[in-house]
Subunit: 333 residues, 2 copies
DNA sequence: TTGAAAGCGCTAACAG
DNA sequence: CTGTTAGCGCTTTCAA
């Protein structure tokens, strides 16, 4: 592979001159500049970023850790982080942590060895380890999608309480009288917040959310199936349902339909996230959209700011959810 | 950041000794080894991979180019490539090319500057450019998911003709008499092959595939909608349908259902790929699974082999598709 | 405006 | 078994 030195020899100048031409760090005589550029083109020279990064103590790469690549919502996170990164000339290294402490730690270690520019966590497994690594390595880190309180690590998340409020109000607005919900695990903060907003709003409208109408579980299709099956088997009468994400909603809807219950005519169902398949589903899913693009944009922006040492005055960003009405709650035309 | 030299000083040995301890390249006195390891642990030393890679002229990173990150099937490619890479201690750099020549070229350039270990293309936009880059850079490259004939670039793909055969046979087996299809663009080789297998098989069974029963378009949900709408508007009677991927199938099914046509009772519909949402759909999708995991495993394996200079005797791998029967073709229980 | 020289952090002969 | 030394390819003072 041709090096800068080769180019220099070819152009009859010193390596430093070639470097200056490439990086535009200093004025170079127009004539020699031409010569250098010709030499570069003729041998198809490609600077060695490894050497450059070593010298400059800075890379153009950032890392992204997600709990599951093939999950439809992290999928969107990956897409938009890549987009924002690429816009800034940054490259993306992806790691699938599977929500596993060890894998997370290994990934962080790998990234730090690479002297990565910054790390974005979409969910973190071991908070204290991340805090430690942040402190000891001085590498910019950002946490998205889950609350994280630390004075060095910015955090951009969705207003989950508000999502619960919106869900409850929409179902009430659809005329639902008995509303049930299938939630994510209450061990997870965002499930608790969503649920709190949901319950508070129902109560404000004079409805009580009986324990029997709450099914807690995972953020999966299977949990949607399990929840509805339980409700139906226990003969809980209900006409409205909120699933904490679109996978749960899909599981709920397919189970209802298989039992001959119509959605939305008999039971209105809504989800959350607005993942890709939400509008392809039949019936299409009413859901609460997360502003993934903005969320990711902000995250990469933080990495940028942290890298350049810019002062950050706000370490927490709370983005608003947005209602998307489709067929699963409103009677089909 | 502490360097190997610091560790050496701390342990009272030379840098080379520390290097040897870390890499286990040579026997080191058990006692000094202990001392070095203590020193490493005490300062939490992390080798600089940039320096190491520069010196060794080899990185632990590979690149993956996909036309669209958030597409459900590339999604699976990303997942499995990451999995295979991580198993081998390789890290994954992802680029979204958006099927765009320039973006593809920029990504390749970036990767080559990084002196990446290898590049996996899941679809390539500019074949001749890829061939050029492969030749001039000597970087291992692999193309998956689309036929590519080159004596330096291995190629692992699905047997698309066979997929067409399986689709046709399944629909015929379901008792369909008039079968239609919504295909991807015939500019793309794999669409042609799938279609060929499909048509040949229908003919073998004495059925003709009239032009009016073929709708060609993109691999999108919208195209599924468009195709069915056209068939219905033109009053083409049909009782079986194959969409060239699951998105098309989903678009077809939702459109049929919205028109009051039952799937599979009135029309059996099948897709292809077996993406994540296929089994979550209602009715769940009968489809033809691509062995994504094996496909990705093989691709990373090729990169590995190419890197280590191992002899490769077979540059083309053709994997078999697999039928997955679900509700959308077989009467629901 | 340009070149010489040092050094980023690491590994690998080579010598001892 | 261990240390010395050179060098991977680049940038950046410092001097000319």
């Amino acid at each position: 592979m041709t090096s800068l030195k080769d180019v220099a020899a070819l152009a009859g100048v010193s390596p430093s001159t070639v470097s200056r031409v490439i990086n535009g760090t200093m004025f170079v005589n127009e004539e020699t500049k031409q010569r250098v550029e010709e030499a570069i083109a003729s041998v198809n020279y490609r600077p060695n970023l490894l050497a450059q990064s070593l010298r400059l103590k800075a890379t153009k790469n950032i890392g992204l850790l997600v709990p599951e690549i093939a999950h439809p919502s992290f999928n969107l996170v990956i897409k938009y982080i890549e987009e924002s990164a690429s816009k800034r000339g940054l490259n993306l290294l992806i790691f699938n942590t599977h929500n596993n402490y060890t894998r997370e730690a290994v990934a962080i270690d790998m990234l730090l060895r690479q002297r990565i520019n910054g790390i974005i966590f979409s969910r973190v497994s071991d908070e204290s380890h991340v805090v430690n690594m942040s402190r000891s390595s001085n590498t910019p880190m950002v946490v998205i999608d889950r609350a994280f309180h630390n004075e060095k690590i910015p955090n951009v998340i969705l207003d989950n309480y508000q999502a619960g409020v919106i869900a409850a109000e929409h179902l009430i607005g659809c005329g639902c009288k008995r509303i049930a919900t299938i939630t994510g695990s209450f061990k997870i903060g965002l499930s608790r917040e969503r649920h709190q907003g949901f319950r508070d709003t129902l109560e404000k409208h004079g409805m009580v959310l009986d324990r029997s109408m709450v099914h807690e579980g995972e953020f999966t299709y299977e949990n949607g199936v399990a929840g509805v099956t339980k409700f139906l088997d226990e003969q809980i009468g209900f006409d409205g349902l909120w699933g904490h994400n679109d996978l749960i909603a899909a599981g709920a809807i397919s189970t209802l339909c298989r039992r001959g219950i119509r959605v939305p005519e008999d039971i209105a169902v809504m989800g959350m996230d607005d993942v890709q398949f939400a509008e392809m589903y039949y019936p299409s899913l009413t859901t609460i959209a997360q502003p993934y693009q903005e969320l990711c944009e902000k995250a990469v922006d933080y990495i940028d700011k942290l890298t350049s040492g810019e002062r950050i005055d706000q370490f927490q960003v709370l983005l608003p959810p947005r209602l998307v009405v489709r067929e699963s709650t409103c009677p089909r035309k």
